[in-house]
Every structure is written in C-alpha cells, then in structure tokens.
C-alpha cells in the first residue's frame, strides 16, 4: 500500500494544510508519495522532499498546471492513481474542488472531511454541521479522502532527502481559462493554522467598529475571524468566515466577540482548545461552549482586555 498526498501550494510555498494532510497519511502508516502540480514550482518539490514523512515527490511542472485547475489536474491525478491505496488532499477549497472530480473519473465515492482514521478503510467525519460524527467504511480498492486539517497536527520533521520524480504528462484544458485571482494580503497569521484567533460577529456593528478587535489580535499575535453575519454585513472579507461553510479552525485560544454562537458557527471552531466568549447577552448560546465567559459591552471589555494584557 502506498499513499498519494496531493500538495497544496502557490508554486512557491507549500501551504500549511499540506503538512496536516501528510500527518493523516502518516497515521495510515505506509509509504507516502507527494504529488506537486504547478508551474515553476521546483522549490515546492524540493522543500517537501526534505520532510521525513515523504518517501518520494512526483513533480508535474507545466504552464497548464499554473493555477491547478480541476479540469486537467483531476485527470493527471487519475493518470497516476492506479499505484495507490489512498489519495489524500486537504479539505480546503483547493482539495474540495479537485479530489471529488478525480474520484468520479474512477467511479469512486470519496470521503470528505476525515477527522479520524480508525483503520485504513474506516474513518470518522462530521455531518450536520458537526452535530453528528459519522463512522464510515469503504471497500473501494482506491480510497479518496479529504482531510480536516485541524484534526491532525502538522508533520514538521525534516532532514530527509526524498527523490523527486518528474511527471511529463501534459494535459491541456481548453474549456476553462483562468482570468484573475485576488488574495487578501494579510500581515496577521493565517486563520486556518493560527494558534490564537479573535473572531467578531454582528455585535461589532460596522467595519469601523470591528477595528476594535485588531489591537487585541495584534497583542496576542492572533488571526482575525468572523461570523457569517459580520462577513455578510461587509465588516471584513469573506474568507475570514469561520463555520460550517467557511473555515474550520481549532486554535489553542479562540476569542468570540459579539457573536451569538449559531450551530453553523460552532461547527467551525468548537474543537478549539480554550474558548472565550464576550457577549452582552448572558444567555447567548456561545456561552454553552465557552470555557470562560465575560458578560458585558464588548466596546468596553475589549479595549480593557487589550490594555491589561
């Protein structure tokens, strides 16, 4: 049995989700190959080849893979998949876009959001916004899994030197054209992998008032997150949404400010180690999952917290 991990990267750097996915592959206890698809991305392959978990890196470099479009990369995955028992990708927008497409081409039902590996064919995954944990099993000879990154601590041990094998198959795709991409530049840590997250909800009232959270986040070296209500109201960018349909986070410390704690929000953060809630409504559902609560006006409490830290 050999496992294929599809690397997520931006042609320059390996994304942190790839290291969580590698950790899931390690949990399957097997030989691990990593597939890097992109353009001018040798640095990514070289970096991955130094990780002890990695036995071999497959590198497909061509301008047609520059944006890792699902239409052709899914076929490239299919072209190599025959040798593997499992194909893994992170359960990020990248992995969720690509992996089901590859699986369907091979007539396999993939398993999404794996949060625990019980044995090589049996997995736990959340359903109903995390209100239910399902244990599922599959007999498929080749299994496709997306990995819930927060459930697996990233691999970090380097010092190895795995071989890099070039893949020369070039699969064109003429039915889709990449137009543009705007990635929010952010000096703060990345939301999905941050140790501390400060999240705001509708209670922040406006984009200007949301800024009360930034000094707190900066003091804690925290990433900033938000509820859907805050995102929809335009307080912050869409990609900061935490929840069932946004990002899944599980930091050491999650501070929820002025958000009520709807089940869809809890789905994205209830595995955090310590949860702090600040809300003026002492009956807000967020207090049911919070380890520590502060009841009161956030516009008084947050500046006080920031200055006393």
């Amino acid at each position: 049995m050999t496992i294929l991990v599809i690397a997520e990267h931006d042609n320059n750097h390996v994304s942190s989700a790839t290291f969580n996915t590698l950790a899931a592959a390690v949990a399957l206890k097997d030989t691990i190959n990593v597939l890097v698809m992109g353009d001018n991305c040798k640095a990514v392959a070289t970096s991955l080849s130094t990780y002890q978990a990695v036995d071999k890196v497959l590198l497909a470099e061509d301008p047609v893979y520059a944006h890792q479009l699902a239409e052709n990369t899914s076929e490239l995955v299919v072209s190599v998949a025959g040798e593997y028992s499992h194909v893994l990708a992170p359960a990020t927008t990248f992995g969720k876009n690509l992996l089901p497409r590859s699986a369907a081409l091979l007539d396999v039902q993939p398993i999404a959001d794996v949060q625990e590996i019980l044995d090589p064919r049996t997995f736990k995954r959340p359903i109903y916004a995390g209100n239910v944990i399902a244990t599922v099993t599959t007999d498929a000879a080749l299994k496709f899994l997306t990995i819930r990154t927060t459930a697996f601590d990233p691999v970090s041990e380097t010092g190895s030197c795995a071989p890099i094998e070039p893949l020369t198959t070039v699969i064109d795709c003429d039915n889709v054209v990449f137009e543009e991409q705007t990635l929010a530049a952010c000096e703060r840590p990345e939301l999905a992998s941050a140790n501390v997250v400060v999240s705001g909800g509708r209670g922040l009232q406006s984009a200007d008032q949301f800024a009360v959270l930034y000094p707190l986040a900066d003091k804690l070296g925290a990433a900033v997150g938000a509820s859907r209500a805050a995102v929809d109201a335009g307080f912050v960018a869409n990609d900061l949404q935490v929840g069932q349909t946004g990002k899944i986070v599980a930091p050491e410390l999650y501070i929820a400010v002025g958000l009520s704690g709807a089940i869809q929000h809890l789905a994205g953060m209830q595995d955090s180690k310590i949860i702090v809630a600040i809300n003026q409504d002492e009956d807000a559902p967020i207090f049911q999952v919070a380890d520590y609560g502060l009841v009161g006006d956030l516009f008084e409490l947050v500046p006080a917290l920031t200055s006393q830290l």
């Binding site: 944006h67 209100n131 007999d139 609560g293």
Partner: protein, 249 residues
Amino acid sequence: MKILVAVKRVVDHNVKVRVNENDQAVDTTNTKKAINPFCEIAVEEAVRLKENNIANEVVVVSVGSAAVQEQLRTALALGADRGIRVETEQVLEPLAVAKCLKAVVDKEAPDLIFLGKQSIDGDNNQTGQMLAALCNMPQGTFASKVEVAEGTVAVTREIDGGLQTLKLRMPAVITTDLRLNEPRYASLPNIMKAKRKPLQTYSLDALGVQALSQVKLVSVAPPTQRKPGVKAHSVAELIDKLKHEAGVL
C-alpha cells in the same frame, strides 16, 4: 439558454438533529424539512438569469422519494418552469446522485447546471464536482458571482484567501456559495401557480442508472461535549484564569 438546477430536500438549518438511541442513524423523523439553503441560492440565480432574458427555461431536478416533490414545488414557486424527480427510496451518496443528474443532463442538454456547493446534512461538497467530471464539463465551484457571455460564463469563486475568476466554456457546472445572491420568498399567488407547473418522474431504471453505494455508515454519535465553562466577573479575572488555569497566555 436552458438552465438545470439540482435541489435537495434536507432537514431545515434551524433544527438541531439528534442521534438515535441505537446509534445507527440520525433521527430526522418529525423534523422540519426545507430546500438545502445552497440550492435555494442556485434556484434564485437561475431565475434571475431568466428574468434578465439571458435564460429562457429553468428546470429543477431532485433525486429522492415522493417527499422531494415538496421542495420541487417550492422551487417552481420561486420561478422555475418545470420539475423532474428521479425516484428512489434509498438515500444515495453523491456519486450516485451525480450519475442520476448526468442521465438527466443527457436528456435535457442544459447550457448551465447549478448545484449548491454543499448539502447541510451530509456536508459532502462533492456532487457538483462529480457531475462535472461525469459530463466532462468545466466546473465553477463555490461561486459568488456569475456572468454569462456568448458561449461562456465567468465565475468568481470564493477560495481560501480570496477570490478567483475563471471563464468556463458552456455547457458548464456551477456550485453556489452563500454570497451569490439573497433568495426571494415565494409569494402566495406563485405558490398557487406552481401547483399547475409540470413535474415529471423518472425511475432509476428508465435513466439506466445503477445506484450502488460504496461507503457504508457504521455508526453515528454525538460530538464530544465540551466541559461547562465559567463566567469571569472582570477582565482581570479572565486574564488570570487564562494565564494560570488554562495556560494559554
């Protein structure tokens, strides 16, 4: 231009489901059902394209038991023209649903196919991508903006870290994210009118689809409950607890 929209019947998003005593299933009896919120957004987008004279027909399709007719009627009341039900009593997994939808696509030959990005019961986020693969069509997943041009459609996608725009050649598959639009409510006259709109049913046999399931549900369980927390009475007390009790500062 013809648009096909796939809608799923799910437990309403306000309901907190429970796990059955015997741990074998999620108890959904007597819970309120609704169109999956993402599918509602998909219907809305298609109807708007029709209202703007970009599309001329919107067909909605659902795979499931007789009960899904309720959601098809709702979609018709929201402005779709006709409905198709693919009949099955089993709960199909996304690959099997995608095969059913592929068979309908082959019959209907739509120019655009809208699905929700994710169903809020199974949380799979797979069916659209799998349908696109089976139909060999391009895919615009997690769409927050859709602009139709001559023979192509520009889809802005919500990806981790920002937004990406792709131009897809039609026919194409699009899955909807929450911010694509704000769905309307069905008016009473439209609900009445929807009762007379055509709704046809296909059996799996008639579509030539084999819907075997590959993934077996072994058991379900509630998530591990968090320990009840405490309220701090002051900012100073909170900081003290975070430092000395939780050790996270």
